[in-house]
Symmetry: C2
Subunit: 403 residues, 2 copies
């Protein structure tokens, strides 16, 4: 393992451990806020120290290329995002963000220009924690951004367009604007797993096969609220008792699928009073699988369970699964093997910029273990050895693809 | 049916339909508030118009006796309560309150003094909707009131003692205080059913056999919150999935009891987010039965279902069942029969002053139908014919007992 590279990465992470730090613990850098601006400026400074060519786009995505003269050449892009959830950890987004910069900077320092230009990116936003839209940075970069989102308001009533304009103006004082969209031939992303699989199996590197599609339902069970003491059992229409039977059937039916992940995470009872028979229950169902046909089949089973009752089903989210590019999966796997790191194919149940980008561009993704599988929490942690492993796999892969 | 009596009652109810009226609908007379004071004063005025002897106690219970010289004679007491829940209906409490006054007043007018003195009572509070204590009026009158409740605060931060003192002082300007506790030999209460049974079976009068005991549990199921996308199904400890199985078993086990009424009315999931596996679920279980042994057996079954898991059970309420006095049940039943009214034995699943009083004194209770079983709601309604029927049964019963 190259200790110079991993020292650079740890030093950068240390610098960022003060940017967006919140009490009592964790980090909050919501897109376009002051700490986010500080982060993108720090990223640009670090890129300049590596001698990279720094530029940005109208969305506030910051790029660092290993050539000053890109024009419209096809490039290999690698990176992640600068924003965090509220009270998030240090590693989600930022690890891949900084590791990409270090990998390209180090390759440039040691090997000079590449045959295919390499560009690191620090995407503006992926988490959706300020405005009700996710992946706006990578969507903009790949021409998938829906401009109606510019009218979205944050909790303080500031709209996306206004927040973006002010932040981009500040960044633009020191970072040049490139109006032309990059021509990206391949995208790579390094990320902490945010789940417990690699750690539990003692595997050092996850070669991501795909990112699961996600279907979210909101299921409403209607009954009749009534007095818990005076209403005989045979004269009740108890929405929670019905919901409980429905949930029981859903759990049973969905457990039959091999890989499907499903969660009833949210459930609200109305009026939710001890001595009142529930009149209405609303619960969510989150289902994820790499295979869209499995999701469709699962939905059909849920619909069948909910038929013939006073139950409504709303589909609130329906994101298609994404597949990583086979040639990039192979190259990442080969890199891990050459580095003598244990590896496994793994699917991602969480969304990533790589998911959105893969709809347009061949994409590869590398995971490293998360201690306890914890993420979106100040307790999020990945060991230095694992951080270095991921960086080495990314660097080796980039070298194979670009030099 | 005696139309004079029922006209008096309807006229009084009409007067009260302006006392505590709130927007958009319903009535709010919380104990000791201005509208409650107005109500007790109006009650005292009506009693005086009947020529009854009006007095009160330190709690603000207002009494009306058919003799000026009670001393410590054993009396028959009948009445209900003046307070309402927030946005309650016209009939809960007030119907029995005013009907008792009319019955005693009318008997006094037509038949003069009775062998056993009759006393109507308008209890101060039964609903517990201002302070976290219920039945304080009837508990005080029967020496069961726990004085530590005087320190309880309402939502505005006023304590029970202060609120009581001010209201009682105002009432005392026009109603004489009697410091000596009444010697009550029997208590009768007329009330709307607050449930759907009488209406559904087309029966005119319910002769209450008892008031169900009530056991309330709070059941906490502990699991481990985690990411819904990244946590494999076999590495989860989903508190809602466990709770669902537990609830399913509870529903099945408790449905085996013939008369037990049970309700899971309140259920909260933590953190209650669509894409987070529930880490904790807390739900209530309300169980009611006339037989304490049935409640104990049901509790044992719930404990057994919840054994061997990370589940905690708290008993938050444990009220003993109460039985109405057999001789009063017989007299009420005979009265209804003489009046050619259809009748049925019925248990009360809701609490009443009669419940508290029955622990000390032989008690009888009469129900009349509630349209749709609706109560504690502005939609609460009982037809005039049913109001008159209940009054007639009460009046006939009092006549049998006292003259």
């Amino acid at each position: 393992m190259d200790s110079v590279k991993s020292d650079s990465l740890l030093s950068l992470l240390n610098t960022f451990s003060e940017i967006g730090k919140v009490q009592p613990a964790g980090f909050t850098r919501k897109v376009y806020d002051d700490q986010w601006i500080r982060g993108q400026l720090e990223y640009a400074d670090a890129a300049k120290r590596f001698g990279l060519n720094v530029f940005m786009d109208q969305m506030g995505n910051v790029f660092a290329a290993n050539t000053a003269d890109l024009n419209d050449q096809a490039v290999i892009l690698t990176g992640s995002h600068m924003d965090t959830v509220e009270h998030g950890g240090l590693y989600d987004g930022l690890y891949g963000d900084l590791a990409s910069l270090v990998a390209i900077g180090d390759l440039f320092t040691t090997m000079g220009s590449s045959t295919v230009p390499l560009v690191a990116v620090s995407f503006s936003e992926e988490e959706g924690s300020r405005f009700e839209t996710t992946f706006s940075g990578s969507k903009f970069a790949t021409d998938q951004f829906d401009r109606t989102n510019l009218a979205l308001l944050d909790e303080q009533g500031t709209d996306f367009a206004t927040a973006r304009e002010a932040a981009v103006k500040t960044l633009n004082d020191v970072i040049q604007m490139r109006s032309q969209r990059l021509h990206v031939k391949e995208y790579l992303e390094l990320h902490i797993e945010q789940g417990p699989v690699l750690e539990a199996h003692g595997v050092e590197v996850g070669v991501v096969s795909g990112i699961t599609g996600q279907m979210r339902l909101l299921i409403t069970v209607n009954g009749k609220a009534n007095h818990a003491g005076t209403t005989p059992m045979d004269m009740r229409d108890d929405a929670l008792q019905t919901a409980n039977a429905v949930m029981n059937s859903i759990y049973k039916a969905l457990h039959q699928f091999t890989d499907l992940r499903f969660t009833i995470g949210k459930l609200n009872v109305f009026p939710n009073v001890t001595n009142v028979i529930p009149g209405k229950v609303v619960f969510s169902l989150d289902m994820r699988d790499l295979d869209q046909a499995v999701l469709a089949n699962a939905l059909a089973q849920v619909r069948s369970i909910c038929a013939h009752r006073a139950i409504d089903i709303d589909i609130t989210t329906n994101v298609q699964p994404s597949r990583m590019a086979p040639e990039l999966i192979a190259t990442i796997s080969q890199s891990a093997a050459e580095l003598n790191l244990s590896q496994t194919a793994i699917s991602s149940g969480a969304g990533h910029d790589a998911q959105v980008i893969s709809y347009q561009i061949p994409t590869g993704m590398i995971f490293v273990p998360s201690v306890g599988g914890v993420s979106h929490s100040p307790r999020e942690f990945t060991k230095s050895k694992d951080l270095a492993n991921g960086l080495a796999v990314l660097s080796t892969t980039l070298k194979k693809l670009a030099y």
